[in-house]
């Protein structure tokens, strides 16, 4: 009897241990990152210095990451995007960056790093960024149709349009289309106009895309001809032989998003390796790698400039002379209204 009891306890305990064991690399640095960011091309310098990769744990989206950290998951570094940083900071998850330990701090993009200066301290090391703009099937859509973002509400493209299932990108589109290119100063009436526009666009939407691969499938088959997409989508699809192009130069403009690394306050290890990792990320070779292999921009502005404009334009990352809505942190009351409205719009209200 007691044996049976012990056996069943043992079985349960065994399952428990079996599922929590970690297959760690270097356990002295734990990174909580987007899946697929454990690409050694980004931090080759760290591997050379320590002889091993850091330990990675992954999240699929930032809110999931936030909830996990809030209930006590311990990691040293994480990778939120611009809209989450202030939320994470207010929840007490972040330590300020010790900028004197970041070797190339003066090369970091000025606008991006200053956007996260809170009470004189910096909290985000802007690492990767990209553009969100109008992507289209160049073989099926005539040039004159894609000169304006109003194509998203054009009945001609009903059922042939896809918008990101992501409140920030979707509203970046709606604000631009209604003439707003800086959302840090939006008012209630701007929000109302943007929502009304998005409601119109909803009628044309075939599907709200969840990830780049899903969007690529929609566009490759010709089911979707016009999309509000990240610049990686045309880059990837062209390499697969599809004639998908991006027009960042619509008269209303396009948007940029950015993400970066933060030093988490509850990290299990001391900070020495954290800064080794940051410094490896900001080496010139990492910059070159992320631009060429991923089609993303890098937060190291000085090295980006050195790459030359040809490659940046090819990847959809070059400078442009139409409005650009940078997805900087915004007023969280307005953002919560955007989130609620976006759900209403998607549900058909």
């Amino acid at each position: 009897m007691r044996t049976l009891f012990l056996v069943s306890i043992g079985l349960f305990g065994g399952f428990w241990l079996g599922t929590t064991a970690t297959y760690a690399a270097d356990e002295e640095l734990v990174i909580f990152d987007w899946s697929a960011y454990n690409d050694p091309g980004f931090y080759q310098g760290y591997i050379e210095q320590h002889g091993d990769e850091p330990t990675f744990s992954f999240f699929g989206e930032e809110e999931e990451a936030f909830q996990k950290l809030r209930v006590g998951f311990e990691a040293d570094i994480s990778h939120p995007c611009s809209q989450s940083v202030s939320k994470w900071h207010e929840a007490g998850l972040l330590d300020p960056l010790q900028i004197d330990r970041i070797e190339r701090w003066d090369q970091v993009n000025e606008t991006m790093k200053e956007a996260f200066k809170i009470d004189g301290e910096y909290y985000l090391l802007p690492a990767d960024w990209g553009t969100t703009a109008l992507a289209y099937r160049a073989d099926l859509v005539p040039e004159e149709d894609i000169q304006s973002l109003q194509v998203f509400v054009d009945p001609k493209y009903a059922g042939k349009v896809s918008i990101a299932d992501n409140v920030d990108d979707a509203y970046a589109l709606a604000y631009l289309a209604t003439g707003v290119s800086d959302w840090t100063t939006v008012t209630e009436s701007d929000l109302e106009r943007a929502s009304a526009w998005l409601r119109e666009a909803h009628k044309n939407v075939r599907d709200y895309w969840q990830d780049g691969a899903g969007l690529s499938q929609l566009m490759a088959s010709g089911e979707v001809l016009i999309a509000w997409a990240w610049n990686e989508t045309p880059v990837v699809m062209q390499s697969e032989g599809h004639d998908v192009r991006m027009n960042r130069l619509t008269k209303e403009g396009s948007s940029t998003w950015f993400c970066g690394y933060v030093d988490l306050a509850n990290g299990p290890n001391d900070d020495s390796k954290v800064y080794d990792f940051f410094n490896a990320w900001f080496e010139p070779r990492s910059v070159e790698y992320i631009v060429n292999e991923w089609g993303y921009g890098h937060g190291n502005q000085a090295e980006m400039d050195k790459l030359g404009s040809d490659i940046l334009v090819e990847m959809g990352l070059g400078p442009i002379n139409v409005p650009v809505l940078a997805q900087k942190p915004m007023n969280h009351t307005i953002r919560e209204q955007m989130i609620a409205e976006f759900e209403l719009i998607k549900a058909g209200f």
Binding site: M1, F5, D165, L218, S221, E223, K346, G348, F349
Partner: protein, 291 residues
């Protein structure tokens, strides 16, 4: 084989055997549920929880037009999935129980479980491949010249959710129905034939009533969990396919309103339990037979 060992430990030791799983279930199901229950009476302002008692979340969950619409849509889809699943599962279970030779039955049961060998996500993506714009169905129809343009009503709507979910849940419906059919004493069927019933009357008066416990189990097993599914609608539902579970997720995460999410979750649970209870009550006569 000697079963006296098992006989001996039945009784009080059975309790001991069952207690670790029981406490495990209590720990991981009952306590979190109590947490959700408590949460649903609080409010949240951005990151701060306010623990003053309020019924506002329930008021919003039951009167907000969007929540009513999503709840009704979820119910409609769950009911359709359940109907389709049970109707499709019954003939399969019947065939295995009555027409497959006893030697081959384990093989058939095994074949039915094959879909579980792949992840649910992969099965959803396969449905996207089948139903898609340049998918298997459209490709074949264009190939044989029946249509010129790909059909667009196959994917990204509520119908696609019903098809995908039904496929995912059908083994859960086949197995209980099969078990119920297996338990039917074959001499009862002979008796009804001897008394003059034809195949249809025999089925309606003997087989179907005796299979009801299995059909009821299948209905509940499919109906109750499908209402909480949020992955399928996200991937195949398209612009009009969001369900109540997607809204619950949004409230807990982006909308910073976990209390409303909790109230919605408990409301959905309440609605589903009520429907399940009513369904059981209507079928009560079939469930007494075993006693």
């Amino acid at each position: 084989m000697n079963f006296s060992f098992i006989q001996k430990i039945r009784g009080e030791s059975g309790l001991i055997l069952v207690s670790p799983p029981f406490f495990y279930a209590l720990l991981l199901l009952a306590f979190p549920l109590m947490g959700v229950f408590a949460l649903s009476f609080w409010t949240q302002d951005y990151l701060e929880l306010n623990r003053d008692f309020t019924l506002d979340n329930y008021r919003e969950a039951w009167t907000g037009a969007i929540y009513q619409a999503l709840m009704l849509r979820s119910l409609k889809i769950s009911i359709l999935v359940t109907l389709l699943t049970v109707v499709l599962a019954f003939p399969v279970a019947y065939y295995i129980s009555f027409h497959v030779s006893p030697k081959k039955k384990p093989l058939w049961i095994f074949l039915i479980t094959i879909p579980f060998w792949t992840s649910y996500l992969i099965r959803i993506f396969l449905w996207k491949v089948i139903l898609g714009f340049n998918g298997v169905i459209n490709g074949s129809l264009i190939g044989i010249g029946l249509i010129d343009e790909p059909l667009k009503f196959l994917l990204f709507n509520q119908g696609a959710i019903v098809v995908t979910l039904s496929h995912a849940w059908i083994p859960f419906a086949i197995l209980p129905i099969y078990v119920a059919l297996e338990k039917i004493d074959r001499s009862l069927l002979e008796a009804s034939e001897d008394l003059g019933d034809g195949p249809v009357r025999r089925f309606m008066r003997v087989t179907l009533p005796l299979a009801m416990p299995g059909i009821i189990a299948a209905t509940l097993i499919v109906f109750i969990p499908t209402i909480g599914d949020y992955v399928t609608p996200k991937l195949v539902g398209g612009p009009n396919g969001l369900l109540i579970a997607n809204m619950i997720e949004v409230q807990f995460k982006k909308a910073n309103n976990a209390p409303l999410g909790a109230a919605l979750a408990l409301s959905a649970m309440f609605v589903v339990s009520t429907i399940a209870m009513v369904f059981l009550w209507f079928n009560r006569k079939y469930l007494k037979q075993g006693q």
